[in-house]
């Protein structure tokens, strides 16, 4: 059995038992150090604890191919949407086994829902990890083609999992229509507005759900292309604001000082150490700010905002803000 297969078996066991010992994270770190010449250059130090594993900035996925070596024709590629920058990041893996089993296991644990008919109004591309994830929860009926499409309200007349971004839900509510879903249905809201214009801010968006959708349960999902695991909130009743996100035990979360990069208690820039990223990069530093509570059953994360939009204090702007001359 190869080192990868042996580790993969241990990660699968962690998903099944919902117990992921620290030693498994450290073994995965050493494995990636040895398997990837690129990571070997980034990760030159020993790690004695999970927070010692150097977190790779999420934006580096736009710069480098951080997938398994060598790239193979059957590798799976997920690409970022590109909405937050000009280049699209690429997350490459050999397969989606860990992704799929981890996603379904944590969804069922948090949402307490089995396979369902999925009505998706998420703006996703064919190579989107979000699109891949929602398809794991049931057959998908997609109602987004540049905007929320006309059949969406008709599709919401029967029990379902409504998969939506905050922005798309706002767009849906801007159209004529209503539904009377009951608690068998779930509204899954993922993603923020990321600087895009929206009519409603987050609390108003959630408060509008009973009037427009009835009484489905509502959950928040936090995920990103560069991570193979997701965090979910506990379901709340329609009209309520979902609470903190809970990461699965096989993905540890901690905060770092955004200026120094050092791990801190409580609030800071969020870092995720995801065993399901066994084929790519174990530890990721996001551009999200949050507060983290360490829990054995799953770290709890409260999102506080993003690093983006910081004041530019100079007249030299970065490449994506310059007009490139052909």
């Amino acid at each position: 059995m190869s080192a990868r297969d042996a580790l993969r078996a241990r990660v699968l066991q962690a998903i099944e038992t919902r117990v992921a010992p620290e030693a498994l994270f450290l073994d995965a770190y050493r494995y990636q150090q040895a398997a990837s010449p690129l990571l070997a250059r980034l990760w030159t130090a020993e790690a004695r604890g999970i927070e010692d594993i150097p977190a790779v900035p999420v934006a580096l996925f736009k710069d480098l191919d951080l997938g398994p070596v060598p790239p193979l024709p059957g590798d799976v590629l997920f690409r970022t949407s590109g909405t937050t920058g000009s280049a699209r990041g690429v997350h490459r893996s050999r397969d989606t086994l860990l992704y799929d089993l981890g996603a379904v296991a944590h969804y069922r644990e948090m949402v307490r829902a089995g396979p369902a008919r999925v009505v998706s109004i998420c703006p996703v591309d064919a190579d989107s990890s979000l699109g891949h994830m929602v398809a794991l929860f049931g057959p998908v009926e997609a109602y987004f083609d540049g905007a929320v499409s006309a059949g969406a309200w008709a599709a919401l007349q029967a029990p379902c999992l409504l998969a939506t971004t905050a922005f798309a839900l706002d767009a849906l509510f801007a159209t004529e229509g209503a539904a009377t879903l009951d608690a068998r249905s779930v509204v899954m809201v993922t993603g923020g507005f990321k600087g895009r214009h929206a009519r409603l801010d987050a609390p108003a968006l959630y408060e509008a759900i009973p009037a427009r959708l009835g009484s489905p349960r509502v959950v928040g999902e936090y995920g990103m292309t560069e991570l193979s695991s997701q965090s979910w909130t506990a379901p709340v009743a329609a009209g309520e604001l979902p609470g903190a996100f809970v990461a699965p035990p096989w993905m540890r979360v901690y905060a770092a000082d955004p200026h120094t990069g050092r791990a801190v208690e409580g609030e800071g820039v969020l870092r995720f150490v995801d065993l399901c990223n066994l084929d790519s990069v174990l530890a990721i530093e996001t551009q999200d700010l949050g507060r983290v509570e360490r829990r054995d059953e799953g770290d709890r994360v409260t999102l506080l905002g993003r690093l983006e939009g910081a004041e530019l204090r100079g007249c030299s702007l970065r490449a994506e803000r310059l007009r490139v001359q052909a």
Binding site: L60, L307, G314, S316, R321, L322
Partner: protein, 331 residues
Amino acid sequence: MFAPCRAAPGTGVSPALEPLATLDPAAFDTGLSPENARACWSTALACASMADLSRPLPGSPPGAVAIIASANVFTAPLEWAYQLAGRGVKVYLKASSAQRASAAAIGRIEGVEVGHWRGGDVAAEKAALARVDAAIVLGAEATIDAIRARSATPVVGLGPMFGVAAWTGDAHAHARDAALYDGRGCMSPAAILGRAVDLDALAGAMAEAERRWPRGRVSAEEASEIRRLASLARATGTWREGPGWGLARLPLSRLEPRGLPRVLCVYEGDDDEVAAALGPWRTQVGTVAGPVPGNYPRARRCNPGQMQAPPGDRRLHDGIDVMEALWTRSS
């Protein structure tokens, strides 16, 4: 060969600027360290003082000009305010709220009036532009375009630019260029280009520059970007760092202007490779230090160590004769 810039004078501030020279820019809340703010301020005053106010200009002078500075280094409006006021033109200076103190300082030049309005306050902007014959807008291209679209007043736009330098072996000169304004200015070196760049010497010079002009505030976003760049450099080249500075050696194929505070990027390549790599940005290169190969039509050429010291008597800024443009457009 290139025509070397005149050395920035260490003394010799114009009488009109003497009231400004007595101020301590450390109080301007520029985000720079006091030492750096003072170095930038004194250099800017000395350079502006070199302007030839008697240079003949075609057309007729505008009665009044607005200078709108949105996202710039704090000294950016100085040379225009000085030259215009020195020629008897009434100047209305609008700087961002973050630059109120430095704008007030520039307002000490006789004939310069400082005004403030919130960015995007179209009514206030319209009222201000109605009072003038022309405007200089310094900022993002989108800002310049938006103001042009909203106003019939002739606008001279000075958009985002960046600097590049050829490795000349004078590490201290390169480090000085990178230190002033903490590397955020449009004249700051976004890249050191050439062959056999001595990283040890550059690292030593960056450390010394940090001791002399300590780095100022760094935003969380900038710190995150520096970690990204450090990772990229470690993975594909070399990363060196010390307290308050960073030095990245990257493949030429990774060349892009970054403008991160006190981070110098080195790209090695032959002349043809350098010219090709810079080609996509050739019209955004505003300052070239040393013999960087390639054609940069809007660039000021100078020696390393003088990137932040543009002599005020130069005719062209970003390829534009700003004074001539103001005179002819308002005729």
